[in-house]
């Protein structure tokens, strides 16, 4: 408790507060620009903070990391383009809310979700971080493999309402994740001699194509502004009030986020999507999900923000990042002499707990920024088609180009734009594809690791209790959509 009090005092020193506010604003700006996610933001800011006190620098980077996620949700809601893969779930209901003119309400839900989810996550983790890290160590490669499969199957089954199409989309994502150097043998796969994809199909560039380019094409086609009713309905405070009308959804989403967060390498994208899927599954009116249901935005945003602290704990306690952003954060920590590992909670307790306290405070500052500045972003949804389409295209393709300074990345985004458009026209959703690409490497690595440990025996995938539970849940998620109508037929005698 003493260390927490010291951390609070440290964070409230003016230079640390200034770093925190600067990180918050910079993070939101970075997050708003599709393509420039937390990883690019931290990389760009690194030269600036190199000479700072380690704790101050980590406070800045932590705030930036957290707020870029919130910034990503702004574009996810307003222009159907997630700033990062972790915001993928927010587009499912956030954007349809905008189409109904309720962009301000959706933004308010997102800001409140960031505050509540982030605060719940951080407070839980301040007191339980060392124990949670220990629990995560019980997960072996087989369990990670099965967790990823569970995430994919739930998304495939629930996001679209057509399990087989969802699974095909996820399969395509997994297949695309195998392009480039094989992580196990180092062998090149499916590159056809084209060097820009030797390290794999770049995720952000694919994301920009699948969502931003596709969305631009859809908007250009429709010749309408994003808000199809041409005006904004509902205020920011309406969104804040709406958020607190769903206490059960908040608790459920925060729990899912925390749990996913402490599993290394599963990441925030899975947390948001799983919470959304679970909210839809539990809802009495699941047909409203995907059509502008506020509970969908509440679930995805709360879960993603509650996941982030857990993700950080894994990064700090085990040195295993749960996302690309966390991986960069890991690098930043090492640069500042904070070497990750279970002992870091004792050896660098002052720095770690200062970071945790700063992140709690960031959640509130982020909310304040949300109610004062971000709500005006909703006006974007009223811009005429001929202005908003090129703005989305320029900013997102520029983000895609800026990551590696390669023109090839712009082409990759355009190709994924065509793919996303065709999928949309064919009645497929690109969300399972994106998750397949995000989790693909993790699935493959853990598949091979598990088999290596077991000497080639597949029994490792169902021998532990955790594995059995995960298999059962996977089966349940796939059979669930079919079981409902069958049960209805049986009980109603086929009427």
């Amino acid at each position: 408790m003493d260390v927490v009090t010291q951390a609070v005092t440290f964070v409230f020193q003016w230079q640390n507060l200034a770093a925190l506010i600067a990180g918050t604003i910079y993070g939101i700006i970075i997050g708003v620009l599709p393509g420039l996610g937390p990883s690019a933001g931290m990389a760009l800011a690194l030269p600036l903070v190199l000479k700072w006190h380690p704790a101050t620098a980590l406070i800045f980077m932590g705030s930036l990391y957290k707020c870029s996620n919130y910034g990503g949700s702004i574009t996810a809601i307003l222009v159907n383009t997630p700033g990062d893969a972790s915001n993928a779930a927010t587009i499912l209901d956030g954007y349809p809310m905008c189409e109904k003119g309720k962009g301000g309400v959706a933004l308010a839900i997102s800001a409140t979700g960031a505050m509540v989810g982030g605060t719940i996550g951080m407070i839980c983790l301040i007191f339980s971080a060392p124990f949670l890290a220990e629990f995560a160590l019980r997960f072996g490669p087989a369990e990670y493999f099965l967790t990823a499969l569970l995430a994919l199957s739930i998304i495939a089954a629930v996001v679209q309402g057509a399990t087989i199409k969802g699974l095909i989309s996820a399969g395509l994502g997994l297949m695309l994740s195998t392009v480039g150097f094989d992580v196990v043998t180092g062998h090149l796969r499916y590159t056809f001699g084209w060097s820009p994809i030797e390290d794999g199909i770049p995720l952000i560039q694919a994301l920009v194509g699948l969502f931003a380019v596709t969305q631009s094409l859809v908007l250009a086609e429709s010749a309408e502004s994003i808000s199809r009713i041409g005006k904004l309905a509902g205020g920011f405070w309406e969104g804040v009030m709406t958020y607190f009308k769903y206490p059960y959804a908040i608790i459920r989403a925060a729990t899912i986020g925390l749990f996913i967060g402490i599993l290394p390498a599963v990441g925030q994208s899975s947390a948001g999507l799983l919470a959304w899927a679970e909210a839809k599954r539990e809802s009495k009116h699941p047909e409203t999900f995907g059509n502008g249901e506020p509970e969908g935005v509440i679930s995805s945003e709360t879960s993603t923000n509650a996941c982030m602290p857990g993700d950080l704990v894994c990064t700090i306690a085990l040195g295993i990042p749960g996302s690309v952003g966390a991986a960069i954060f890991l690098g930043v920590m090492i640069i500042f002499g904070v070497i990750p590992g279970p002992l870091v909670f004792k050896e660098k307790a002052d720095v770690i707990y200062s970071l945790f306290v700063a992140l709690v405070l960031t959640s509130f500052i982020l909310f304040l920024v949300g109610i004062t500045v971000a709500r005006h972003f909703a006006l974007v949804t009223l811009l005429p088609n001929e202005i908003i389409v090129p703005v989305i295209l320029v900013v997102s393709l520029l983000g895609s180009f800026a990551i590696r300074n390669l023109m090839a990345d712009v082409f990759i985004s355009l190709v994924f734009g065509i793919l996303g458009y065709i999928m949309l026209k064919g009645g497929f959703t690109p969300v399972p594809l994106l998750l397949g690409m995000v989790l693909g490497e993790m699935v493959e690595i853990n598949y091979h690791r598990a088999l290596m440990i077991s000497g080639g025996s597949y029994s490792i995938f169902y021998s532990s209790i955790i594995s059995k539970i995960l298999i059962f849940l996977t089966f349940l998620s796939l059979a669930g959509p079919y079981w409902g109508p069958i049960w209805k037929k049986l009980t109603q005698g086929g009427k």
Partner: protein
């Protein structure tokens, strides 16, 4: 037959079927551990596509739940005239994107961005003299704004054309 399944969806599934089969075959010469995972995914996806195609060919109509969460599918636009008008706008948009990308490749960020804004203003905005000037003015302002924000404030590298 036409009402049973949707053309774009079936074509897309057939293309995917061929793609997954090709990827399976291409993986054959890879080392054992390198080919195991992609081939597993390919076989699984092929099975799913075949099942999906069988369902498409045998069912009477489209499941509502299937399209409920996917906006702007062809299924939701039934009127043929609207479909044609949308397709025309789609081709125009692609034309502008490709020309602007080519201009960017040759001349760099500023020319590319300006041409993208002007292209959309000309082909998607109102074509009166007043709006034309207004849209060109917006194109110039937006290009400068994006340049200043990215290049000067954030230090993000911008596209430089091969001509200079």
């Amino acid at each position: 037959m036409k009402g049973r399944f949707k053309r774009t969806e079936v074509w897309f599934k057939l293309v995917l079927l061929i793609l997954f089969s090709l990827l399976y075959l291409l993986a054959i010469p890879y080392p054992e551990k390198s080919k195991q995972f992609p081939q597993l995914i390919a076989v699984f996806s092929i099975v799913m596509i075949v099942i999906s195609l069988i369902i498409d060919l045998t069912r009477k109509g489209t499941g509502l739940g299937e399209i409920a969460d996917v906006g702007d599918t062809e299924l939701k636009i039934l009127d043929e005239t609207t479909k044609k008008a949308r397709r025309k706008r789609f081709y125009k948009a692609w034309g502008i994107i490709l020309v602007s990308t080519a201009i960017g490749f040759l001349g760099g960020f500023l020319f590319s961005t300006f041409s993208l804004f002007v292209g959309f203003a000309l082909f998607f905005g109102k074509r009166t003299r007043k709006y034309l000037f207004k849209n060109i003015f917006i194109a110039v302002v937006m290009t400068i704004l994006i340049y200043v924000a990215f290049q000067w404030i954030m230090g993000v590298p911008l596209l430089t054309g091969i001509l200079w």
